[in-house]
Symmetry: C2
Subunit: 196 residues, 2 copies
């Protein structure tokens, strides 16, 4: 059998960092887990963790076996004309979920629905870190970002549940563009509508 | 031990009808299961099934141990001024889910997220039967009822997921009236917005 170029020793170190990271994220959540602490528990230098995995975000995606990086996709979808951000977000979400990588994203979402650990991570990572940060760029008052991004999350999570989990027709097989047109403006309302 | 007034014989018949009904709903789904077939398999007269359980809808709710009857609640919420139907629907949903009965409703919803059988029943019963029927009364073109009610379902399911399953703040502890005001008009859009 052909061996990869990577030496076994490195592979072991990499695996043991991942194991420590998995445990640390589970115990402390995404926010409170630090590369420094993970490196310490794994008995390696923090620089080595960065060398293998890059940022904490990327280490986390590796731990979760995430096939996509929402940290890149969401801001990308929300960039561009502000008044079409809602439609672009739905269009991007559907194109990812309908792709082969979508199966794994859906598996993670399903797991979050029945597993407190995954729920917490999804909450902290996808929503608190990424979605909220992206929404903050789009709205007038940054203090409203937590509520507005959680409202956006209701519509996105619901689309995922109805189309892929409950597979309710005609949404289950509807054309993505029709769904983007129908649902996008609701996302937009969650960004723009006065909160009182 | 004190016995209830109902004679054991009747209780046995009732239980065996429920068992047959559970199996029949599981095999055929809500639509294709008939009181006549259930009665036949249980070896009783269809009139007796009606006597014990009322309609097929009520028999189904009994099988599912449903603490509430969405067949009464949803049309009730949607009655009244047409232009406020969305807000009333969200207000009603939150008042049920926040109530003690809501725990059981949430358990059923969770189960539908991981169990194909429950998913199918939820789909057929709550959405196809009840929500769709209610939506049909509110819209101009009845042929659009399937798509419009499935879109309404995305927003309602998403609210349930974010508030009760992922427990994402600030939606998890937000005032129901704020949520109704923010989300209701999106439901309304799903009823009114032209579909092309």
């Amino acid at each position: 059998m052909k061996r990869s170029g990577r030496r076994p020793g490195n592979q072991d170190t990499r695996t043991s960092i991942l194991e420590v990271a998995r445990r640390t994220f589970a115990e402390k959540g995404f926010d409170k887990a630090s590369i420094r602490a993970i490196a310490g528990d794994a008995g390696v230098d923090p620089a080595l963790v960065h060398h293998y995995f890059g940022t904490k975000e990327k280490l986390f995606l590796e731990v979760m076996n995430a096939p996509i990086n929402p940290g890149e996709l969401i801001p990308q979808a929300l960039a561009g004309p502000r008044e079409e951000a809602g439609i672009r977000l739905i269009r991007m979400a559907l194109s990812v979920w309908d792709s082969p990588a979508g199966t794994a994203a859906l598996a993670m979402f399903r797991s979050a629905l029945s597993n407190e650990w995954t729920a917490r991570l999804l909450r902290e990572f996808v929503v608190t870190q990424i979605l909220r940060r992206a929404v903050r760029e789009l709205i007038v008052d940054p203090e409203e970002a937590p509520l507005r991004s959680a409202l956006v999350a209701t519509q996105i999570a619901g689309l995922m549940v109805v189309r892929y989990v409950l597979r309710l027709e005609p949404v289950a097989s509807a054309d993505p563009e029709l769904l983007a047109t129908m649902i996008g403006p609701n996302i937009q309302r969650f960004l723009d509508e006065p909160l009182d």
